[in-house]
């Protein structure tokens, strides 16, 4: 989230799309209702189903799953056509005025630079046009230059007329125009609107571009960085925000530093490649905060290898594993299944050992059968869990997941009982980036142990083995700093201190060399004090400030809210730098005056920025720097050359497309979206599978987790799996409400109770009648015996977004019949 949960109460219009907040974030949804009740805010719900969110919405617009980009670009078109965008904002805070190189083109579904062989784009074709004199970006403040981002955008969205949107999305034109009218009503300074989304956008082969489209719309309407505005992603788990912040995925180190590739052999190479050079040095120059990259990286290496990390040995950079290519979720599955992978042209082994701390790949999918088959090829599998999920018992999974004979599965499986949230302390980072400390309430049941103890014991045992027996690169283990008071079960408070970072030697004050900012051993106040010479260490620069000399700020519990805007600066700690609204500089105009005085984000009072923690050099007068300090442009991107699938979003059908793309039939699906080629990766044709299907969660259950609760209340509230089917389709197929129905995709079929409902409507797509069905995840072959069910992800395809490599769970093709 760019803003916070409570901040939603400050909005005038909410576009809830690509998510069902009432269902999945009911408590956060309170602030939607608050805005409705106290400000008369309008809630617009766009969803394939008439959801719990829609039930309370002022306007509901049905949409075909996977067609969101067309819907959003249509709104952008409407805003530009009818001059309902926030022009001053666009000029000051976006790259709308920037001039793009002649090399950029878009013809029948393909951007310039497409390499059909590699199915990849050469992104250099999308660069800005450097100004001949300054070599900086060319800028046209009038937005009139035909090669300006704004004009190119205008041209790009030309095709997304309400008629075309109706044809692609199935949204009735009149409803759609109402949506456009309400959403673009915030394109004025005195109004603010927010867009909220969740996995209904992130889980598509065009996911990132959907979100881009939303962000672009918000930039055009001048809603980014403002209280009551923003682009707000609702994360679905208590700490996946934290997981990504702190290197949960292969491609990033803590704090979104890049995992070094094989090509960066030395720290110097690496830092040069990773640190962006400031290109815009003119007015609204970019602060380009990433130029501090070396400080963050070196401090991280110091935290990782402690004393062993010295200037001489590149702070141990060589010991860091380097990556070549992709090691993410579906590649893990594929490489496991195939037993090897090809990296920079050479064959390398695939995983033969697998460690999972509380994750359930078989349930999560996609394509559960492939996961079962892949796990069966492992030599060993370790799962630390609260309950016995599908994954650790894949070897006894039911027939329909076609597992090999148990006797033929050579995998040694360890199932370790782990403590749950109440049985350990530590911090969770919520969707609003708040790091909140939780205290331990009870001991784990039986022999269960906290996951930090399980991990530490394994690590220490392996380290001992290397001490005794040696092996490849033992120093990587030997030098890893593990200097916790109790190495077997590190105290999480200590760990958080390490994450915050501290001075290793006195740090001189840059302003006055005679003074010191911090003396050796002191916790740093924030990432501003980090150094690139090894005099500081910090486990995650983004979190720096969470555990200062003042103590553990994640434990702060003040309910004071002086701004009245729901920022609560003294409740817990919000990264970065306890900032509550990201890009808040954009909440003020060129002079630093708030667009809406009633809802100021930050304000320039003559000598400094006041209000929220400024997303800006606190004493830099307006005009010094652009509002988006992390971007080399310094402004928000209506045009992003960094994407793998185009600088502008474009509507592409899902990988399993129910129609040919009406805009460019030759390029129906995302040309660079990724698929797999094993015998388990089967993709369905619209001829065999005419129905669009989507998956989702229920408010009464959590993932593959709560249905394990024996005699649990949640199992009382939602006892089992069901399939939601529109009345019309049910009639055609002779399916009665409550009867058994079978849903089949190219990858398998599942059966469950039919829930025949008015909430799914028949759709007219590209002139043809089309049906959508959907079903919740949550059930599987593990769980409380009375509450098992089919795995939803048996049906989902292994296709993914080319930027995030997130699977396309939300739009695929099926057929249904009476069971």
């Amino acid at each position: 989230m760019t803003n916070g949960w409570v901040d939603i109460k400050n909005t005038d219009v909410i576009l809830a799309m690509g998510g069902n907040p009432a269902e999945n974030h009911p408590v956060g949804f309170k602030w939607f209702m608050e805005a409705k009740k106290t400000r008369g805010a309008k809630l617009v719900a766009v969803d394939p189903r008439f959801t719990r969110t829609a039930a309370t919405a002022d306007l509901y617009a049905p949409i075909r799953a996977g067609s969101d980009i067309a819907f959003l670009l249509g709104i952008i078109r409407y805003a530009i056509e009818n001059k309902r965008y926030h022009e001053d904002y666009v000029k000051v805070h976006t790259n709308g005025p920037y001039v793009v190189s002649e090399k950029f083109e878009f013809n029948d579904g393909l951007f310039s630079g497409f390499d059909a062989g590699k199915t990849e784009y050469d992104k250099t074709a999308w660069a800005y046009e450097p100004d001949p004199k300054t070599k900086a970006y060319g800028v046209d403040p009038t937005l009139q230059n035909p090669r300006s981002v704004f004009q190119l955008l205008k041209k790009h969205v030309e095709r997304y007329t309400p008629e075309m949107v109706e044809r692609i999305c199935g949204t009735p034109k009149d409803t759609y125009l109402k949506v456009c009218q309400i959403v673009t009503s915030t394109g004025v300074p005195e109004k603010a609107g927010t867009i909220t989304y969740a996995l209904g956008w992130t889980q598509h082969s065009t996911a990132v571009q959907m979100i881009r489209a939303a962000a672009m719309l918000q930039l055009l309407l001048g809603n980014v960085g403002r209280p009551g505005g923003g682009v707000n992603a609702f994360r679905g788990h208590s700490n996946i925000q934290g997981a990504t912040d702190i290197a949960g995925t292969f491609d990033i180190l803590p704090g979104y530093l890049k995992t070094p590739p094989g090509s960066s052999q030395t720290l110097k190479d690496y830092l040069e490649a990773a640190t962006p050079t400031t290109l815009n040095k003119e007015a609204w120059a970019s602060m380009n905060y990433w130029q501090n990259y070396p400080k963050f990286m070196v401090s991280l290496l110091k935290a990782t290898y402690g004393k062993a990390a010295t200037k001489e040995n590149d702070f141990g950079y060589a010991w860091l594993p380097k990556v070549d290519g992709n090691y993410s979720w579906m590649y893990i599955c594929d490489d496991m299944y195939r037993g090897n992978s090809t990296r920079v042209g050479g064959k390398e082994p695939g995983p033969e050992g697998f460690i999972s701390f509380g994750m359930n790949p078989v349930g999560l999918g996609p394509n559960s059968k492939k996961w079962v088959a892949a796990l069966a090829k492992l030599k060993w599998l370790v799962v630390a869990e609260n309950v016995e999920t599908e994954t650790p018992i894949f070897w006894k999974s039911p027939k329909q997941y076609d597992p090999p004979e148990a006797s033929k599965i050579q995998t040694e499986v360890f199932l370790l009982p782990a403590a749950d949230f109440a049985e350990k302390d530590g911090t969770f980072t919520n969707s609003a980036r708040w790091m909140q400390w939780k205290w331990k309430a009870v001991d784990p049941p039986g022999q269960a142990k906290s996951d930090q103890e399980i991990l530490a014991r394994i690590f220490l045992a392996v380290r001992d083995l290397y001490k005794k027996e040696g092996g490849p690169l033992p120093e990587a283990l030997a030098n890893l700093s593990w200097s916790y008071t109790n190495p077997v079960e590190p105290d999480l408070g200590e760990v958080l201190k390490e994450i915050n970072g501290k001075a290793l030697s006195d740090i001189p004050d840059p302003a006055d060399k005679t003074k010191t900012l911090k003396t050796a051993g002191q916790q740093v106040d924030g990432f501003g004090q980090l150094q690139d010479d090894g005099s500081t260490m910090c486990g995650n620069w983004l979190h720096s400030g969470v555990f200062t000399e003042a103590g553990n700020n994640a434990q702060r519990r003040s309910t004071a809210d002086p701004t009245g805007l729901g920022m609560y600066h003294n409740w817990a700690f919000s990264w970065p730098a306890n900032r509550r609204i990201m890009y808040n500089r954009a909440s003020a105009d060129a002079e630093g005056k708030p667009w809406d005085p009633k809802r100021p984000g930050i304000v320039w009072n003559g000598e400094k920025w006041v209000g929220d923690v400024p997303d800006m050099k606190p004493d830099a007068p307006p005009g010094t720097f652009g509002a988006f300090i992390m971007l080399p442009e310094g402004v928000g991107r209506l045009y992003a050359s960094g994407m793998n699938d185009g600088p502008f979003p474009e509507h592409y059908e899902a990988v399993e497309a129910p129609i040919d793309n009406p805009l460019h039939p030759k390029v129906t699906s995302n040309p660079v979206s990724k698929k797999f080629s094993s015998d388990k990766d089967i993709y369905g044709k619209k001829e065999d599978f005419p129905i669009v299907c989507t998956t989702y969660r229920l408010t009464e259950h959590f993932h593959y987790w709560t249905q394990h609760q024996h005699d649990g209340v949640l199992n009382e509230l939602q006892p089992g799996f069901f399939v939601e089917i529109p009345e019309g389709l049910a009639q055609q197929k002779g399916i009665a409400n409550g009867s058994q129905v079978k849903v089949t995709s190219a990858r398998g079929s599942i059966q469950g109770v039919a829930m025949v409902t008015k909430r799914l409507r028949p759709m007219k797509i590209d002139g043809k009648e089309m049906w959508q069905v959907g079903f919740p995840i949550h059930w599987g072959y593990a769980g409380d015996p009375n509450h098992t069910g089919p795995l939803a992800n048996t049906l989902t395809p292994s296709a993914m977004d080319p930027n995030t490599w997130t699977p396309e769970f939300k739009a695929f093709l099926v057929r249904i019949e009476k069971a």
Binding site: A22, P26, M33, K37, G40, A54, A55
Partner: protein, 295 residues
Amino acid sequence: MSVQQNLEIRRSSASVWGSQSGMRSVPTVSKYIDTTTCIGCKACEAACIEWNDLRHIATEQTGTYQTLPTLHAEYWNLIRFNERDFDGGLVWLMRKDQCMHCEEPGCLAACPAPGAIVQYANGIVDVNPDQCIGCKYCETGCPFDVPRFHQTTGKMAKCTLCVDRVSVGLEPACIKACPTGCLQFGTKDDMVALGARRVEQLKSNGFTNALLYNPEGVHGTGVVTVLAHGDHPEWYQLPRDPHVPILVRFWKSFLRPLGAIAIFGAVIGALTHYTKFGPKEVRGVDAPDRNLPDA
């Protein structure tokens, strides 16, 4: 930490007279339900079960989001889901169903067991399991079909408005839980005022039939409900004009006293007759065959 001092009784079932206890006058409390901001998340259902430690009952998926077809002795709080075509589109109505804590409780009126159903000074209507005899009269008395017979305890069971929480100054469990704030709790006056404001807002948003459901038939309820479609309470499975069944009133407050009098009357009648006429027998006639030794 017993709590019984905190609540005094306004009215008690099957009481002959003077059921009011104590002197304190406390404000009547009320729940507020805004069906227009309810998302049917069932937090209230769960909170009710958790707080009151209700037993797990087996449910099954029958093609609806609604947990059970109706209330149950182990399930006092149920959200009723209704899909309705409306104005060319669809409305998905969710309404929290539970005891309405009527100002004029039909259950209490019907209850024959002294003190088995009480209305506390603050308006909460509660079943006192210790006094309840499980006769189910209250089922007939209740215009909202709320009380349920509990098989294992043999007592009636229903929402207590978390009297144990309220009596120590807390809100009921369901109210505290409600994520969207469609449930509120406070004095009846405050809740009615809140409801009136919300209804006005709805009307200005085009729901011209919006109203605050607080039926006069039972002199108002301790649960006031905002309905966007006030002209169709039945869409929410609410009775249009609930009242304590007239026949219940008749037999309870008229027929039975009358009957009692009639019976006493009969006895007195018999006595009077006896004193006036004495026994009916033959006296003085010669009756040879009565001269028996043992006669």
